[in-house]
C-alpha cells in the first residue's frame, strides 16, 4: 500500500475499545481499518466478567438489547473464605433492573461478545482484518504514520493502540517502558458448563435471564488478589486474580491455588456436576488512576482501553470493558473533530474528561490504597469467619461475652484496633 491511499484511522485490536472506536468513526463516515491478531475478534480475550450496559448505550442507544450478553446481574455477592469456613453476603436490588430500562449490568463471555461488537462496527462500514499481528509502527518526521504487519505496510492519519494491557505498540511508540509487575494482576479462569436450570436452582434465580456476580476474598493464601464467579446462560465463569510479585515470593503456582478455590467446600457445590470446557489466563491492570501512563498520545498515535490503563478495581467490582468502550468513543470523537492530526491527542484528553472517564478514575483512586492492605486477603476473612463460628457455636457452657470474643479473635488473627482505624482512614478518603 502506498502512502497516498491511507486510512483515516488504523485501529490495532478488536476488543471492546477498538471495536467501539471503529464503530463511532465508521458511523461518522471515516475510513477505518481494524487489525486483530486473533482468527476472530475475541478469540484471544478474557474477562471476569460482567459489563455495565451504560457504555454500550452511550455507543448507540439500544445496543445493549441486541448485544451478545449472558445474564443480567440481579444478585451481587461477596464471599469470605477462612479455611473451610465461608460467609456469603448476597445483595439484591430490583431497581438495578427496572422494566423499560436496560439492566445495569450483564455477565458476558468475550468470544461471542467481541465478535458481535466488531460485527456491528463492520455494519457501520469499518474494515475488520483478522488473523494479522501488527509488528511495528511506521514513523516519519517524529510522527506515527502507519503500521507494519509482516511484509505489509499500512498508512493512516492516526494509529489507535487498542491492543490491550500488555501493549507492545505503546512500548514501540516510546510512551511506556517495561510493565511494572506491581501494577498488574494475573487472572486464571475456567468456564464450566452447567444446564441453565441447575444454575437457576443453585443461585436462587427465578428465570434464565437472571444472574449472579460474586467476588471471593480469602482464597489467595494471603496474596493480594481474589476470586470471582459469574453465572452465564449455560456456564459459570470461575476465576481468580493474583498480584504476580507476591506469587513469586509465596512460591506456589497460581494454578494450584486456583484449584484449591475450585474445590473449596463452599464453592465446589456450586459447580459440581458441571464440565470444564476452557481454561484461560490474562493480565488485568490493578493500579487504577495511578496506572495511566503519563502520556497516552503522540502525534499520529493514541492509546485506548487497557493499553491506556483504564481499569478500576474496587474489590467488589471490576470495570474495564465499560471504560474501554468509553475511551474508544472519546478517541473517535477527537479524531472526527480534529482539524489536523496534531490536534487529535489534546482533543482526546478533553473528550476523556467530558465522557467522565478520567473523573471516574480519579474518584476511585483511593481504592488502590485500601486494597494495598495486606491483611484483607487472609487475616480479615479468617477473622470474620472465626467470629461467625463463635457466634453460632452453642454448647452446654455459658457463652463468652461477644465483645470480648471478638477482641480475642482479633488478637489471635493479628489484627489490632489500630489496623482497623488505619484502614478506616484510607476508606474515608474514597
Amino acid at each position: 500500500m502506498s502512502e497516498s491511499e491511507k486510512f483515516d484511522a488504523i485501529i490495532v485490536g478488536a476488543g471492546p475499545a477498538g471495536a467501539a472506536c471503529a464503530y463511532t468513526l465508521a458511523r461518522e463516515g471515516k475510513e477505518v481499518l481494524v487489525i486483530e491478531r486473533g482468527d476472530t475478534p475475541g478469540s484471544k480475550n478474557v474477562t471476569g466478567g460482567r459489563i455495565y450496559t451504560y457504555a454500550l448505550e452511550m455507543l448507540d442507544q439500544g445496543l445493549s438489547e441486541e448485544a451478545a450478553l449472558e445474564r443480567k446481574v440481579t444478585r451481587e455477592q461477596v464471599m469470605l473464605l477462612g479455611g473451610q469456613r465461608a460467609i456469603t453476603i448476597d445483595f439484591h436490588d430490583p431497581s438495578f433492573n427496572r422494566d423499560g430500562h436496560p439492566p445495569m449490568s450483564y455477565t458476558v463471555l468475550r468470544a461471542p461478545f467481541d465478535e458481535w461488537l466488531a460485527g456491528k462496527a463492520e455494519e457501520m462500514g469499518a474494515m475488520v482484518a483478522c488473523g494479522i499481528r501488527v509488528d511495528g509502527l511506521i514513523e516519519k518526521d517524529g510522527k506515527i504514520t502507519g503500521v507494519i504487519a509482516g511484509e505489509d505496510e499500512m498508512y493512516a492519519d492516526v494509529v489507535v493502540a487498542a491492543d490491550g494491557v500488555n501493549s507492545l505498540l505503546a512500548q514501540k511508540a516510546g510512551l511506556i517502558g517495561e510493565i511494572d509487575f506491581n501494577t498488574v494482576g494475573v487472572g486464571v479462569k475456567e468456564v464450566i458448563e452447567l444446564p441453565a436450570s441447575t444454575i437457576e436452582e443453585r443461585f436462587r434465580l427465578t428465570n434464565p435471564e437472571e444472574g449472579v456476580a460474586c467476588m471471593i476474598l480469602g482464597c489467595t493464601e494471603g496474596i493480594h488478589g481474589g476470586g470471582f464467579l459469574y453465572t452465564n446462560k449455560e456456564s459459570i465463569s470461575l476465576g481468580c486474580v493474583f498480584m504476580p510479585g507476591e506469587v513469586a515470593r509465596h512460591k506456589k503456582s497460581i494454578q494450584e491455588i486456583f484449584q484449591d478455590l475450585k474445590m473449596h467446600p463452599a464453592v465446589y457445590p456450586l459447580i459440581a456436576g458441571g464440565e470444564t470446557v476452557e481454561y484461560s489466563g490474562h493480565l488485568v491492570g490493578e493500579a487504577g488512576y495511578r496506572g495511566i501512563p503519563k502520556q497516552i498520545y503522540r502525534e499520529g498515535f493514541v492509546m485506548i482501553g487497557d493499553a491506556a490503563g483504564f481499569v478500576i478495581n474496587t474489590g467488589y467490582s471490576v470495570r474495564g470493558m465499560d471504560l474501554a468502550i468509553l475511551s474508544g468513543i472519546a478517541a473517535a470523537r477527537a479524531i472526527v473533530n480534529a482539524s489536523s492530526p496534531a490536534e487529535i491527542g489534546p482533543l482526546y484528553m478533553q473528550e476523556l474528561e467530558r465522557i467522565q472517564l478520567l473523573p471516574t478514575m480519579r474518584a476511585t483512586d483511593g481504592y488502590f490504597d485500601v486494597l494495598q492492605t495486606g491483611w484483607l486477603y487472609d487475616r480479615m476473612p479468617a477473622l470474620a469467619t472465626a467470629v461467625m463460628a463463635d457466634l453460632y457455636s452453642v454448647d452446654a457452657q455459658p457463652p463468652a461475652k461477644l465483645s470480648r470474643g471478638i477482641r480475642e479473635q482479633m488478637k489471635a488473627h493479628g489484627i489490632s484496633v489500630w489496623d482497623v482505624i488505619k484502614l478506616g482512614f484510607k476508606g474515608v478518603k474514597i
Binding site: R37, T40, S43, V46, G131, F181, G187, Q255, L283
Partner: protein, 97 residues
C-alpha cells in the same frame, strides 16, 4: 472435563491451539536462567509451562501458552530473550473467553 482438581496440562488440553511449529513466540536463554535464583516464572505462569528438569534447569514449552504476558512482566533477569504474541492465526483460540 468433570469438575475435579486438575493439573494444568489437563486443563490446557480443553483449549484450541494452533501451534506455530516454525517460529516459537517465546525464547529463553538457558544460560541466563541458570543464574536466576528466584525463578518467578515457575509460579506465575497460569499454564505452568515453566518447569524444573532433573538437573534443576528451566524447561519450557511454548505450545500451551495462554498468551497472558505474565512471564514477560516477571522475568527481571531477562532470560526471556524473545517474547512476542504468536504470529497472526497461530496460538490460542478461545471459544468462550
Amino acid at each position: 472435563m468433570k469438575i475435579e482438581r486438575a493439573e494444568a496440562a489437563q486443563l490446557l488440553s480443553l483449549n484450541k491451539f494452533n501451534v506455530d511449529e516454525e517460529e516459537p513466540h517465546i525464547v529463553l536463554n538457558k544460560d541466563i536462567c541458570r543464574q536466576c535464583t528466584d525463578k518467578p516464572c515457575l509460579y506465575v505462569c497460569p499454564a505452568v509451562l515453566y518447569k524444573l528438569d532433573k538437573n534443576g534447569e528451566i524447561s519450557f514449552d511454548y505450545a500451551g501458552c495462554l498468551e497472558c504476558g505474565t512471564c514477560r512482566v516477571m522475568c527481571k533477569n531477562k532470560g526471556i530473550v524473545k517474547w512476542e504474541y504468536p504470529r497472526g492465526t497461530f496460538g490460542l483460540s478461545l471459544r468462550y473467553g
